[in-house]
């Protein structure tokens, strides 16, 4: 599934009003571990279709990053009904990341 890039304009529509739980990847272009996360996140978006996968570039959207109190990237934040369920910071290889996300989904 195509990953949606979130900005202030589409945040409400794509995140707040989403029917599915949303997994946000907070990233920035200067961040090496975020670059590693990119392709893994994309692959998982095709495998874990119960979730909506979106990305927020913290450099372009500092207000959204501040709203979520992001202090480290990459951070994956799981949102359900406009509430943060759980988050995970740092890069993890695909098999490990999948396990982490599945564990987070249990808290929905």
């Amino acid at each position: 599934m195509a990953i949606i890039h979130i900005n202030k304009e589409n945040f409400e529509k794509e995140v707040i009003n989403s029917d599915k739980p949303v997994l946000i990847d907070f990233w920035a272009p200067w961040c090496g571990p975020c670059k590693m996360m990119g392709p893994v996140f994309e692959e998982l978006s095709n495998e874990m279709t119960d979730l909506k996968f979106v990305k927020i570039n913290t450099q372009d959207e500092p207000e959204l990053a501040a709203q979520f109190q992001i202090q480290g990237i990459p951070t994956l934040s799981l949102i359900k009904a406009n509430k943060e369920v759980d988050r995970f910071s740092g890069f993890a290889p695909k098999p490990m990341l999948k396990q982490k996300i599945e564990a987070m989904m249990k808290n929905i």
Binding site: G32, K35, T58, Q71, G72, F88, G90, P93, M96
Partner: protein
Amino acid sequence: MVEKIYDAIIVGAGPAGYTAAIYTTRYNMSTLVLGEEFGGQMNIDYEIENYPGFKKIKANELMQKIHDHTLSLGAEIEADIITEIKHDNIFTLTGMTGKQYKAKTLILALGTKRRKLGIPGEEKFAGRGVSYCATCDSNFFKDKTVAVIGGGDSAFASAFILMQHAKKVYIIHRRDEFRAKPVVVDSMKLNSNVEFVMNTNVKEILGEKNVTKIKTDNPNRQEIEVDGVFIDVGVIPNTELMKKAGIHLDKSSYIQINSKQETNIAGIYAAGDITTGSAGIKQLIIAAAEGAIAANSAFTNTRECNHKLEGGDCND
């Protein structure tokens, strides 16, 4: 389906692994690079100023060039974490994805990982004030107060990045002198927003949702209020897997090698930060050089082995 048997599998996708792959592919060896983190240590480095040909280059930019170079030569690159190495007459690796990979020779280049402090609050506040990557996260601490824990070059590199954003940077070190180069320490002293706190161990990281302070064992500085804690207390080699496979390690768990980058097991080579080689100097250019030597040794080995006979044991 006939399983592919690679001439060389390189485990680890940092400068050592990529350079090994550049050499093996140029020797016409079929090559697979298995990486957990593409780029390795370089992903969290900032700028490189000692790699010939580049007076100053961003670490991730140089890594991208090395990655592209490796791919252009026909090496295959795959993301997996190897959980087992088996040695029959060829090597069989099992990955966390459940996949198996087979090769005539192995080059181990898994590098090192960041040492953690192992104190209360460290894990809880990861991404909420605790960071291991100043390059990634310094931007979130504009006009805030941060502590860098450590006393080596890497800690000072982090402090250098942070002082450009934060209003105050503490460098907290457990000894009474720094391991970092004197020239770096002296230049940092000149900055009014940097303060050294010596002979001090951080015992706990505290906060509510995010970090608010740290507790130390220094009676004069029992608590320091900070918004961020950047941990730079050295590295440990990624060698748990090698121990299980019977590869000889030194007492600090680095892989023991000879001048050809050979380990104690025939057909297995090691290169880069993970080895005891090159006087233990952990530098990009040295990792690359060890990768080249390992590839050359692997090439010589496979050539002899192919020569010996068709279908025989390569690593007798």
